[in-house]
C-alpha cells in the first residue's frame, strides 16, 4: 500500500487538486486588487471596460469552453479505450489553445496600437483609474495566457504519450490531471471575461 512505486491514482489526483488550489489563489490576488480598485474607480473602470473588444472576449470564451468540452471527452474516450478518438479530441483541444492565443495576439496588438499598454504615455496621462484597470488587465490576462501556453504544452505531451501507448485505458491519470489543469485555465477565464469585458 504505502509503497512509492505502486501507482496511487487517488493520490496523484489529490496532489493535482491541491496544486489547482494554489493556482486559484494565485489569481485571486489579482481579483482582490481588481475588486478593491473597482470599489474606488467604478466609473473609470466602466469607461475602460467599454473600450475592450467584446468580440474577441466572447469568441475566446466560446473557444475555451469548447476546448474544455473536448478534453473532458478525451478522458471519457480513454476510459473507453478509444485511442484514436482520444487523440483527435486532444488535438482539438490544443488547436483551440492555439487559436485562443492567436486571438489574444490580435487583440493585444490592436490595443498596443492604440497606445494602451502598461506605463504607456497615454495611460500615464489619462485618468488614474484607467491606468490601474489596464495594468490589471494586462497582468491578469498575460498570466492567464501563460497558463494557456503551459496547459497546451502539457496536453501535447500527454497526446504523444497516448500515441506511444504509455497512457492507456488502464493508466490514464496523466491525461486526467492534464485535463484538470486545462479546466482550471478555462475556469479562470470564465471570471476574467465578465470582469474585464462586461462590467458596467
Amino acid at each position: 500500500m504505502s509503497h512509492p512505486l505502486h501507482k496511487d491514482y487517488a493520490g496523484a489526483k489529490l496532489g493535482m487538486w491541491l496544486f489547482l488550489f494554489t493556482e486559484l489563489i494565485l489569481f485571486s490576488g489579482l481579483f482582490l486588487l481588481y475588486g478593491a480598485y473597482l470599489a474606488r474607480y467604478p466609473h473609470e473602470f466602466a469607461a475602460a471596460g467599454r473600450e475592450m473588444h467584446l468580440f474577441f472576449g466572447t469568441l475566446n470564451t466560446a473557444i475555451l469552453i469548447t476546448s474544455s468540452l473536448l478534453v473532458a471527452m478525451a478522458v471519457t474516450a480513454i476510459q473507453r479505450d478509444e485511442r484514436r478518438t482520444t487523440l483527435l479530441l486532444l488535438g482539438g483541444t490544443v488547436l483551440c489553445a492555439a487559436v485562443f492565443l492567436f486571438n489574444k495576439y490580435l487583440e493585444w496588438s490592436a490595443e498596443i496600437g492604440r497606445g494602451i499598454y502598461p506605463g504607456s504615455p497615454k495611460l500615464v496621462a489619462g485618468p488614474p483609474g484607467e491606468s490601474v484597470f489596464y495594468g490589471l488587465y494586462y497582468l491578469t490576462v498575460g498570466l492567464h495566457g501563460l497558463h494557456v501556453l503551459v496547459g497546451g504544452t502539457l496536453l501535447t505531451v500527454v497526446a504523444l504519450r497516448v500515441r506511444r501507448g504509455t497512457i492507456h485505458g488502464g493508466d490514464y491519470v496523466w491525461l486526467e490531471n492534464g485535463a484538470l489543469y486545462w479546466h482550471l485555465v478555462d475556469l479562470i477565464w470564465i471570471f476574467i471575461f465578465p470582469l474585464y469585458y462586461l462590467i458596467l
Binding site: M1, Y9, A10, G11, K13, L14, W17, L18, F21, L24, I25, S28, G29, F31, L32, G35, A36, L38, A39, R40, P42, L54, T58, T61, A62, I65, T66, S68, L69, V71, A72, M73, V75, T76, Q79, R80, V173, E176, A179, L180, H183, D186, L187, I190, F191, F193, P194, L195, L198, I199, L200
Partner: protein, 98 residues
Amino acid sequence: MTKDAQDNTAHSIGYGKLTAVWLGLLCLTALTVWVSRLDLGIGHVWGSLAIASTKAGLVIAFFMHMRYEGRLLRLLLFVALLTLAIFIGFTFFDVLYR
C-alpha cells in the same frame, strides 16, 4: 488502505452529458453578454459574477468530475474556496470603510 480517500477515478461521463453541459455553458455565456447590455448600474457586477459562478460550478461538477468524487476532495475544495473568500472579503473591511 485508509478510508478517507477512495479510489473512484474510474467513473466516466458519457459524451451526451458532456455536450449538454457544454451547451449550457454557451447559453450562460450568451446570457451574461446580453445582461451586460441591460442598464443595471452596479447590479452588473453581481449579475455577471453570479452567472460566472454558475458556469464555474458546472465545469467543476461535470468536466472536472467533482460531482463523482469522494467526500475528501469536496471538503478540501470547500476549504480552498473559503480561504479565497476570506482573503478577498477581509480586505474589504479596509477598502469599504476608509
